[in-house]
Symmetry: C2
Subunit: 317 residues, 2 copies
């Protein structure tokens, strides 16, 4: 009894919640929709639904760590999230930025740099003395360079520049029009109309990053240039965070869908050395961090057991 | 009488309507709020209000030309605007993109290139045979390079890069925080919160362009770099439109608030030669175009008379 911990990793498109023991066994695993208040007006309901599933276990959970998107960035958003968690999770807990739990999962107690490039982008670097520095990740209006939204927006920009004659890239533009189902219409009507009719504009523009990556794999020069520019932006964030932390050249770990791109990985490796795969996924980082706070010593095989159980929990039919 | 024409120039922030005679005399002049359907949900009411003022003159107006923001770009928007105009203005008329009437005003019947840089940006080039080519101006999501929104967004980006350590520009970042009234708060809370709490996000971010220009005048290198980049983007649009029209090096005319910047004008002139000031303002272009369509020959002193009357009409107390 009283020896379990809860970890939650909330993202823009999905959220994972896990209750685990010190040996890595998972007692409860559940997943739900994204809970980013910046682009999901139903984040509170989605969070409530997940946390209510834990109610029967409250008396057995010693501590919970929740990684929440946007937490600690805008005071009003942070306050609203803290309030919602307190309401639905009346047990000892700590709320953190979701990228922080990803960092904890990637390197556990050790130093290291986490480079996140999902819909947005952000870099956190942790020195050996535990201090964490950050670069990037201030939202898609003026930041998030190298993330999937940034890539998708740049793809639309390059396609429009090709279509009105500023750029010589007809194949890239034709492929993009085909991707958004608009090859037989006025291109400006099609492209502007597509953007404006998106229900979730931010995440749907971000989805174009996968299209750009596929084109890059086929050798399209404009697509390669975009993915290479993304790697360059992520590298600037990486090197800035490491310089501020005083740990230039420390191990780095990738997180987020943009790293599914072999073009991005190739350039990141060339500029920053080989990456070190994360020891635990972000939700594992939250669980690990909760164990630390609760003063519970994880058993030696914790990471292997937890990872295997997590895969089973979230892939079983 | 049947010898009057109507011209309208609708923009993002303001709209001018004028009824004039062939000698340049202005019979009616009225101004109202912006009517851009992309960022003003009240565009229809604003347009209705202006057009209703003309009702008593309907029988005397032979033709009307209306320059409408976004017209001809997205079919649904174009259709909605055409429908609204037909409803409130039951006389012969033609609706055009507002940049087209600016081009007509700048060069009357002659060839020339209009470079517009207001909140958005766009270039139209007209060859001696009358064919018009266009570059840029496809909206702020993926185009409008060099316009005030583009400048304001880049300013926010550079400030955030300075504040998280990616860029060495502390004075620029401090000035921007002061500009948005946020110098005593967490900078990310302040900047992200400022963007998200804007009632008219697009036009308020665009307003930052004037701040960047003031800093550039004081010698701030980051501000100078941003305004220089804007001039470079506008030059790419200018040269593209001229190349497509087959008239490289033809006279160009500036329009829009971004050209109030001496830094932008300096670089535009250096890269594209001296500009040729517009003969008539955009609303004058609409009136001129309406006279042409109606087969009414403007008198010799039309431009001088019209311009003087226009200044009087819109500046009298």
């Amino acid at each position: 009894m009283d020896t379990l911990v809860l970890g939650l990793d909330g993202g823009g498109t999905k959220t994972q919640l896990v209750v685990a023991a010190s040996d890595g066994r998972i007692v409860l695993a559940t997943a739900g929709a994204g809970i980013n208040p910046m682009d999901n007006s139903k984040w509170r309901e989605n969070l409530e639904e997940l946390l209510l599933a834990v109610s029967p276990l409250h008396s057995s959970i010693r501590f919970a760590v929740l990684g929440l998107p946007g937490h600690g960035e805008i005071r009003a958003v942070t306050d609203a999230m803290d309030k919602a968690v307190s309401e639905y999770l009346p047990i000892p807990h700590r709320n953190e930025n979701d990228v922080r739990v990803a960092l904890d999962g990637a390197f556990l107690n050790g130093p290291g740099t986490l480079v996140l490039a999902g819909t947005g982008s952000m870099v956190l670097a942790k020195g050996s003395e535990g201090r964490i520095t950050r670069a990037g990740g201030w939202g898609e209006i003026f930041s998030d360079e190298g993330g999937a939204y940034w890539i998708g927006q740049l793809a639309l920009r390059r396609a429009s520049q090709a279509l009105d004659g500023r750029l010589d890239a007809p194949a890239f533009a034709a492929a993009l029009l085909s991707e958004i189902g608009a090859q037989d219409r006025d291109w400006h009507d099609a492209m502007m109309g597509w953007c404006l009719s998106r229900k979730h504009q931010r995440s749907e523009i971000a989805t174009l990053a996968r299209f750009v990556d596929r084109l890059a794999d086929k050798g399209d020069e404009t697509a390669i240039a975009i993915m290479t520019a993304a790697a360059a932006e992520l590298t600037i964030q990486l090197k800035t965070a490491q310089r501020l932390a005083g740990h230039i050249g420390q191990a780095w770990s990738p997180a987020g869908s943009v790293f599914d791109s072999s073009t991005v990985m190739h350039h990141m490796t060339r500029m920053n050395g080989p990456c070190q795969p994360a020891i635990l996924t972000p939700v594992g980082g939250a669980v690990w961090s909760a164990l630390q706070t609760a003063g519970i010593q994880p058993e030696d095989a914790f990471a292997e057991t937890f990872t295997a159980e997590l895969v089973r929990a979230f892939t079983s039919p």
